[in-house]
């Protein structure tokens, strides 16, 4: 994303297609010199806007590339500036020759996400939608792709703007009260309080749906933990359906952690096997145990494994969801609430473990929020300010302080869609004041 500032508003060139091994590759040129680049490639007259036209492109050494050219003059283009797309034969060497011809004509090589960044900077795309496009490209699971599409389509932005609209509406009333005390009726504090708590509830709902959304789009981390020799590695292998971790009967066999790709239905995850957590271990093993503590800390679900032939140990507190499992059920049953598992010739209980992990994915899915971590941070800050505004309204606090908090809410919400706000009150608020209140005695 970070192209050097000096290069801002240069003309960018980059390969717009995802895989280079198809039949056709698309090279995209965007910027004020897009037409010049086409001219340097021998495209004499510009094709009519937004039509594919067959053109012979002049490359180095007198070679001609038989391609299709689309000309999309700004502002009606993806980036908002003049864009040319060159559909050329794929293949690494050919595509590189076309790129080099563009670079020689004065274009600059685009980095990852540079076209979207252009689109955002020129106001052709809001920030949340640009992030959605990046997420569509980066999506690794079906659920992640579905969420990214909604983000790219502007669903989050519209929800944010709808609350922002309510915030600006309220701010309009508060500001009018402050600046025109003789023209505007005194505050309707009771209604304002209701409106602010409604906004507070809406943002709160987003935030409580964040985890469910994140679970849906990110590979979850399921970590096996428990005392040594409880059968963690055997369970790991059983869940994966193949031998991956070293299994032996001696405590402390797993000295490092082992991770493997794993899936539960449509959901992707990492399954991680760790060294047994215990107090008295050798130096190498201790290092392994330290690493497994780290794994446990970043886990989404801890599969806490103990064997039925050993007394219960005191389980550490985990911030993640815990699924308790008792192995070696064929040897006894000590922990009634745990899922019983028997491994070996006639294994049982694996389906129940898989079902528990599936339930973890589906919990709260109906409230899943598509916001990304950055959106969550801004929304959390907006929520804090809404809380302070609510408290001020509750205690008959000073109106100018309520206005200040509402300004913070507005700025944070605006940051989600990337609409920057300069100064205290934009013209939008003043315009609203003058159109809704009869000012001027």
């Amino acid at each position: 994303m970070n192209q050097p500032l000096e290069a801002a508003r240069s003309t960018l060139v980059g390969v717009a297609t995802g895989t280079p091994d198809g039949g056709v590759a698309i090279v995209r040129v965007s910027g004020p010199k897009a037409a010049e680049v086409l001219a340097a490639l021998g495209v004499g007259t510009l094709p009519p806007p937004r039509r594919l036209v067959r053109k012979a492109l002049a490359l180095e050494g007198g070679h001609k590339e038989d391609g299709l050219v689309a000309w999309m003059p700004g502002p009606r283009s993806f980036t908002g500036e003049d864009v040319a797309e060159l559909h050329v034969h794929a293949g690494e060497r050919n595509v590189r020759a076309v790129l080099e011809a563009c670079l020689r004509a004065g274009a600059t090589a685009a980095g990852r996400g540079d076209f979207s960044r252009r689109a955002f900077e020129l106001g052709a795309l809001s920030l949340d939608r640009a992030e959605g496009i990046a997420a569509v490209i980066g999506a690794q699971t079906d659920e992640a792709l579905a969420q990214a599409r909604r983000l790219a389509a502007g669903e989050l932005g519209r929800a944010v703007e709808s609350i922002r609209d309510a915030v600006v509406g309220l701010r309009t009333e508060v500001e009018a009260n402050l600046d025109f005390p003789e023209d505007v009726d005194d505050g309707h504090v009771a209604r304002w309080r209701e409106e602010v708590s409604d906004m507070h509830a809406r943002v709160q709902r987003w935030l409580s749906g964040f985890e469910a959304g994140r679970r849906g789009r990110e590979r979850a981390r399921f970590v096996l933990a428990g005392p040594p020799n409880a059968g963690k590695s055997s369970l790991f292998n059983a869940l994966l359906g193949r031998r991956r971790a070293l299994v032996a009967d001696m405590p402390g066999t797993t000295r490092d952690y082992v991770e493997a790709e794993y899936s539960v239905g449509p959901h992707g995850a990492w399954l991680i096997d760790t060294a047994g957590l215990r107090g008295d271990a050798g130096a190498v093993e201790a290092a392994g145990i330290e690493m497994s503590r780290e794994q446990v800390e970043h886990a989404d679900v801890v599969l806490w494994v103990e064997a039925s032939d050993t007394p219960a140990v005191e389980r550490p507190e985990f911030s993640a969801t815990v699924v308790e499992i008792e192995t070696k059920r064929d040897l006894g049953r000590r922990r009634a609430s745990a899922i019983g598992v028997t491994l070996g010739e006639s294994s049982s209980g694996i389906e129940q473990v898989e079902a528990a992990l599936g339930r973890w994915f589906s919990q709260g899915r109906d409230q899943a929020w598509i916001g990304l971590a950055r959106h969550r941070d801004r929304a959390a800050e907006a929520l804090e300010a809404l809380g302070r505004a609510e408290a001020l309204l509750q205690d008959d606090g000073a109106l100018e302080l309520i206005a200040f908090e509402l300004g913070v809410v507005d700025a944070r919400l605006a940051a989600i869609t990337g609409r920057t706000q300069l100064g205290p009150v934009g013209d939008d608020v003043l315009d609203r004041i003058f159109s809704s209140f009869c000012i001027g005695k």
Binding site: R9, E121, L178, E182, P424
Partner: protein
């Protein structure tokens, strides 16, 4: 032998002109004021009130900068209130109603007796230049008045045109000729002029008003004042206080106005200028807020020795007969005699984007503009501009540092920056909501905010500065006692009030600074931009951005970021350029 003193010439003797003249003289320049008539110096042609929300803040800042308006208003006030009493101290504002005649007399007396100020009666026809440097002005009678700097404070007189119904009279105020030659002269010099409009209501005879059916509004006790009790120059004595009265228009009033709307020059197309939305004529109110069945009318006496009453709220340019007809429908005004009908005035304003933060022209050396001519409305807005322009004209001539107030230091800073960055397409009035540092900029701390700047510019004496410092120390001590929940001792109420205000916002100041810094970006990245930067040749800017930048010619990337409609892409391009220039300069 000392070198001959440099001369600042002020065109106009209104609120901007007075402050400009006094400030320039205090800084140390010789001052000439050219005014149409000494008789009309310091007029309050609209309602005779000084202060109000955000405007009161400006008056306190004028006072803190050693200016005239606060003291003059205190000396001639006949009614006073603090607005926004129910809200926090940051948005509470003093408003005084003054005796119109006494205010004018006070101003006239101050101007004609002030050492170092020479008053010349005449109408300025043109600014005289030598190679883009001001050398004086030419009067309508052909005579030349030399000067090293000229401050233009012509108010509504540039191309002034008065409208009452279909009647059009050239004039800057009722009964006074406009300055048309100067308008053409400025246009020829390359200044963009725009057409603005404002208006005033009819004046009524108090003896014909039935006050019994109106609601009295007494002055507050004690009467609020702009000057401080402990100032080294004691506050002027208080005049006798009078009541204002409140009444309302009604459905019949509205009907009459609606019926005659086509006769209003505002609606017949006769007036082209844009009027302020916050100070609409009664015609505007009836049209735009048709659902309101009544509008308030404040009856404000214009003085102790006059029967003239200003009916605040029914500014109009309808024909005189229609004015009489609708006024008679208002309770208490059934038999009201009209002393003079209301009128609208259209005038030329200079696009203030041609000026820098000192109100100096970016193209003509030694030329300054201040007041309503810059597109503002209000005595207070005019006064602060005059003060800053006059002081800066003198400071420049004496080769000293300019006086520039930051947006975080005062409403003065907000006003200057807004005007020279955004220009205005309607008359600009100060609002508290324009100040992003609102809770830091209170009436009660104007002295603390601005005294150091005032001392540095030579606008206040060392003794006055020391008094401010002592006052500050006692406020800090009281505030600390409050923070520790100790009894504050027996400090006077006004001092306790100031300490409370400081205490109330203590927890918010850091957050407010953080918020503003977050909006603005890193202050360290605010880079200077050359005044002669060729935006047309700057690569990577859209044509629209080039046009906006060329219109304003911002002096820094920070100012550029406040130009309406600037995109992040344009700002980044500009910032990259500024950084390249800075690196080149560093390399020598």
């Amino acid at each position: 032998m000392t070198a001959p003193r440099k001369t600042v010439l002020v065109v106009g003797g209104g609120h901007a002109g007075l402050e400009a003249a006094f400030a320039a003289a205090r800084v140390g320049a010789h001052v000439r004021v050219v005014t149409g008539s000494v008789r009309t110096v310091g007029q309050t042609p609209c309602n005779p009130s000084v202060g109000g929300v955000a405007k009161g803040h400006l008056v306190c800042e004028i006072d803190a900068l050693g200016g005239f308006m606060g003291r003059a208003a205190d000396a001639t006030a006949i009614h006073g209130r603090v607005l926004n009493r129910s809200k926090g101290p940051a948005v509470q504002s003093t408003r005084l109603q003054v005796d119109k005649a006494k205010y004018g007399a006070y101003a006239r007396d101050a101007l004609t007796t002030h050492p170092g100020i020479e008053v010349i009666e005449g109408l300025v026809a043109s600014v005289v230049l030598e190679a883009e440097q001001v050398t004086g002005v030419q009067l309508a009678d052909g005579s030349h008045v030399p000067a090293d700097a000229v401050v233009v404070t012509t108010g509504t007189f540039l191309g002034g045109l008065l409208h009452t119904g279909a009647t059009k009279t050239p004039g800057g105020r009722a009964g006074e000729a406009p300055a048309n030659g100067l308008s053409d002269n400025l246009r020829a010099m390359g200044f963009r002029l725009s057409r603005l409009k404002t208006g005033t209501p009819a004046r009524l005879d108090a003896r014909s008003i039935d006050y019994a059916v109106t609601e009295p509004q007494p002055s507050e006790d004690p009467v609020p004042r702009f000057t401080l009790p402990d100032d080294i120059e004691p506050p002027p004595p208080l005049l006798e206080q009078v009541h204002c009265h409140l009444t309302w228009t009604n459905a019949t009033t509205n009907e009459i106005i609606a019926e005659h709307l086509h006769e209003s020059p505002m609606y017949s197309g006769q007036i082209e200028g844009r009027g302020p939305r916050y100070c609409p004529s009664i015609e505007d109110k009836v049209v735009r807020f048709a659902d309101r069945d009544r509008h308030q009318v404040f009856l404000e006496p214009e003085g102790l020795d006059t029967h003239s009453v200003y009916p605040n709220g029914i500014s109009t340019s309808l024909p005189a007969a229609v004015q009489a007809k609708f006024i008679a429908t208002i309770p208490g005004l059934e038999n009201a005699e009209i002393i003079r009908p209301g009128y609208a005035v259209e005038y030329d304003a200079v696009d203030a984007r041609a000026l820098d933060h000192r109100f100096a022209s970016k193209t003509h050396r030694g030329l300054y503009f201040a007041g309503q001519v810059n597109g503002t409305s209000g005595y207070e807005e005019a006064g602060i501009q005059g003060l800053l322009a006059g002081a800066n004209a003198a400071l420049e001539l004496l080769g000293r540092e300019p006086l520039v107030v930051g947006r975080d230091e005062g409403y003065a800073g907000v006003l200057v920056d807004d005007l020279v960055t955004q220009g205005c397409d309607e008359p600009y009035r100060m609002f508290t909501s324009r100040a992003e540092y609102r809770i830091m900029l209170r009436e009660d701390n104007a002295d603390a905010r601005l005294s150091a700047l005032a001392l540095q510019a030579g606008l206040i004496s060392q003794a006055r500065f020391d008094r401010v410092a002592a006052r500050r120390a006692s406020i800090d001590a009281l505030c600390e006692a409050m923070a520790k929940k100790r009894p504050p001792g027996d400090a006077p109420a006004w001092l306790l009030g100031r300490a409370t205000a400081q205490h109330v916002y203590a927890g918010y100041l850091d957050r407010m600074r953080d918020e503003v810094a977050r909006l603005r970006g890193d202050a360290a990245s605010d880079l200077p931009l050359a005044a002669d930067l060729d935006y047309a040749a700057l690569e990577g800017l859209s044509n629209e951005a080039k046009q906006r930048l060329a219109d304003v010619r911002p002096t820094s990337t920070g100012q550029a970021s406040r130009i309406p409609g600037m995109t992040p892409a344009a700002l980044m391009c500009l910032w990259a350029h500024a950084r390249r220039m800075q690196k080149q300069a560093a390399r020598g």
